[in-house]
């Protein structure tokens, strides 16, 4: 008993004071004045030299947002966000203008180095074999400061650039797809994002192309009191394949920071998109102060027949997570997958899950969710699986496992299942377990200390999901699980 109690104390103590990425980059940034109105939106749009249609799109979203109310159905509690008390645009001053790597502020590059991002092309070229290279589109607060490997990707016909650039350079593609997966009025946060989104990634993989490298964005929230509103749009044309990695960190702050991103994926006939996220934003300190509020809308549309979209996520950070990466299985025989590890500790509140919307014939989906709650955290899995009238032979398998560490945390599972077609078969399995005293003792008797034992057992618990991650991320994720659950290990 005592052994486990000590572990609980350690886990509680890990706190987040240890948050490894809690540093602030001292760089002058250009801020929009606080508050939100049409002028701010015009300011953002002008900063990005956007065409008129884009500004109109934003303004339209803003007018609709003003009529909407913040949703309250999620199992998360937080003080009311004052949307007038936020900056909606922040850019490092030096990041304006052309974005070739040599012109990037060395302080920024240094920040990325601290984050472990191999941004500098030379470093990447020197260190990593070509087939393992990752193209990085780094988002520093609101502006994408550098994109590596652009040229090589261009040779393959792949477009990978900040979305602000895509709006200027590929307006037809953007116009054709933006807002078609997550409509402007989808939900409160998505509508807000549509009005004020600052930057994010744009990816287009042409017909039949297998993207020659993993694409990656590192998100980082630096500026105080800024909302971060990325917008990502990935289009995989017929028969193409892309694997996209998203990593997130944010510095430690007292105040809470708001993050409301929108990610849209479109897979056309026979295309496959694999989207992996490792998120370790600042979760708040030991008392539950500070941390990121993460309200994200992520959705993939299997628009073509035989297409496939897989979401894999490892969530360890944020004070509040509200996130449901979803798949619309529109094309016949399309496949949606969701693999998730959500770790909550301290006072974190996680309400996450997925939606699998079966519209086409013979569509199938698979959900593997692993929730780990420690400290005083609350971890909710919320999953919706539905079959439309025409979704003949729709199949879903859901496995939802929760692991509790200590007795002051909570794990909740909220499945919504809805079938309008009699041939649909949905299976749902759920388990809740604890690390048992016997397991702890067994590991300790073999010489592992308590932290090592917890990390080992938790890594075993999440193995099915870790195996879905690309190699580079799997290693990082395992380390991260260690960091977020260990006490004193530096």
């Amino acid at each position: 008993m005592v052994a486990v109690q000590e572990t609980i104390d350690q886990v509680k103590a890990i706190d987040v004071d240890q948050y490894k990425y809690g540093f602030v980059t001292d760089i002058e940034s250009e801020l929009a004045p606080k508050g939100l109105n049409e002028d701010i939106i015009r300011f953002i749009s002008a900063k990005k030299s956007e065409p008129e249609w884009m500004l109109e799109w934003r303004l339209d979203a803003f007018r609709r947002w003003k009529t909407m109310e913040e949703p309250s159905w999620a199992r998360v509690h937080y003080p009311k966000i004052d949307f007038e008390d936020l900056h909606y645009y922040a850019a490092p001053k030096t990041a304006e203008g052309p974005k070739n790597l040599d012109e990037v502020d060395p302080i920024l590059l240094d920040t990325y180095k601290k984050l472990g991002i191999p941004l500098s092309e030379q470093e990447i070229l020197a260190g990593i074999a070509p087939e393992h290279r990752i193209a990085v589109d780094a988002v520093f607060d609101s502006v994408s400061v550098a994109t590596t490997f652009k040229e090589e990707l261009a040779k393959a016909g792949v477009i990978f650039c900040p979305i602000s650039e895509a709006i200027r350079d590929y307006p037809d593609l953007v116009k054709q797809y933006l807002g078609t997966v997550v409509p402007v009025t989808d939900n409160f946060y998505a509508t807000l994002n549509s009005a004020v989104f600052s930057d994010g990634s744009f990816v287009y993989i042409p017909k039949g192309v297998r993207c020659p490298m993993e694409l990656s964005t590192y998100f980082r929230i630096n500026e105080q009191n800024t909302g971060q509103f990325e917008r990502t749009l990935i289009i995989a044309d017929e028969g193409s394949y892309v694997s996209y990695l998203e990593g997130c960190t944010a510095p430690q702050r007292d105040e809470n920071q708001l993050h409301a991103a929108v990610v849209e994926l479109v897979a056309l006939e026979g295309a496959e998109i694999k989207y992996s996220t490792v998120q370790n934003w600042f979760p708040g300190d030991a008392e539950g102060k500070g941390g990121i509020y993460n309200f994200v809308t992520k959705r993939g549309d299997c628009r073509g027949d035989n297409s496939k979209i897989a979401w894999t996520q490892v969530e360890t950070g944020s004070a509040i997570t509200w996130k449901y990466p979803s798949c619309i299985l529109r094309g016949d025989n399309s496949v949606g997958e969701f693999y998730s590890i959500a770790i909550s500790n301290g006072y974190q509140q996680v309400d996450s899950g997925t939606k699998m919307i079966h519209l086409g014939k013979n569509t199938s989906s698979r959900i593997i969710s692993k929730g780990i709650s420690a400290g005083r955290s609350q971890n909710t899995y919320r999953g919706q699986v539905s079959a439309h009238r025409k979704a003949k032979n729709a199949r879903n398998f859901t496995q939802c496992d929760s692991l509790l560490i200590g007795d002051q945390c909570g794990a909740h599972t909220v499945p919504y299942i809805e079938s309008k077609n009699a041939t649909a078969v949905f299976e749902h399995e759920a388990t809740t377990s604890k690390i048992s005293d016997d397991q702890m003792f067994y590991c300790l008797a073999r010489g592992l200390n308590e932290e090592e034992a917890v990390a080992l057992i938790v890594n075993g618990f999440v193995r099915d999901v870790i195996q879905q991650l690309p190699m580079e991320f799997a290693v990082e994720a395992q380390k991260l699980i260690g960091i977020s659950l260990e006490g004193s290990v530096g």
Binding site: Q439, F441, C443, A445, R446, G447, L448, N449, G460, D464
Partner: protein, 250 residues
């Protein structure tokens, strides 16, 4: 050298060990026999530092060090190893991964570098082959879905890899057929050395045909009630434990 003096231990308010005295010198093998419920497993858990037990009296020292001051992991680092009567399942953790984590944890505790992976793999393969542990089994999560025999072989594999100086084997023979018993016993016998002590806990004499002890003790109702040579085991096999159970421990 292990010295247990007047050891009393309670669990949930019940006194299970009621004054155990035992000295095991380097190189010696002691068998502890006794009827079910006499406190054999309790003794093994108390020796390895399981938290559920309250030590109300007595002492345990190993090589002069007070073991009651140390946690289970520190006792492991001090050279103690318990082969469990009922090995615990660790879902999702491949046996190979577990072995590596345990070995490196102990090396770290002793101030040694991690063992390089190729060297480790080679070592495990050798030891596993001796115990008939297949590579396939090494990939499976530890003890999950293992048969009784597989579990016991996996315990002995851990023991031979970690090279403890004090081995406690709790009913390692239970659940083994005769061939498995031979393989496991050979594995244990390989580890016999002048520096290494063993406490072999068993209900039945047959294990002691394979692992021949220097001393045999009978534990009854939480006390050692008789000590003798290996012939004591044969005597018990013939007459059963009835004499000791009735005796109300003198």
């Amino acid at each position: 050298m292990l010295e247990i003096k007047n050891l009393h231990a309670k669990v949930d308010g019940n006194e299970i060990l009621r004054g155990v005295n035992l000295t095991v010198k380097p190189g010696e093998i002691h068998a502890i026999m006794g009827p079910n419920g006499s406190g054999k497993s309790t003794l093994s858990y108390v020796l390895s530092g399981k938290e559920d037990y309250e030590i109300t009296e007595g002492s345990i020292t190993y090589n002069g060090e007070d073991m009651l001051e140390l946690g289970p992991d520190e006792r492991a680092a001090a050279g103690m190893f318990l082969a469990f009567q009922y090995p615990i399942e660790i879902p999702g953790v491949a046996t190979m991964t577990f072995l590596k984590t345990a070995l490196n944890a102990q090396r770290k505790a002793r101030g040694l570098e991690e063992m390089p992976t190729p060297e480790f793999m080679k070592l495990v393969r050798e030891k596993a082959a001796d115990l008939n542990v297949t590579p396939e089994m090494l990939r499976r999560p530890l003890n999950v879905g293992f048969s009784g025999g597989e579990k016991k072989r996996a315990e002995i594999l851990q023991m031979s890899l970690l090279e403890p100086t004090l081995c406690i084997l709790d009913e390692t023979d239970s659940g083994l057929d005769i061939d498995a018993l031979r393989i496991v016993s050979e594995g244990v016998n390989k580890l016999r050395s002048p520096e290494r002590s063993m406490i072999v806990i068993t209900h039945y004499q047959r294990l002691l045909d394979h692992i021949v002890p220097d001393v045999v003790h009978v534990l009854s109702k939480g006390r050692i009630v008789k000590t003798g040579g290996k012939e004591l085991a044969l005597e018990l096999e013939k007459n059963g434990y009835a004499d000791f159970v009735d005796e109300k421990a003198a």
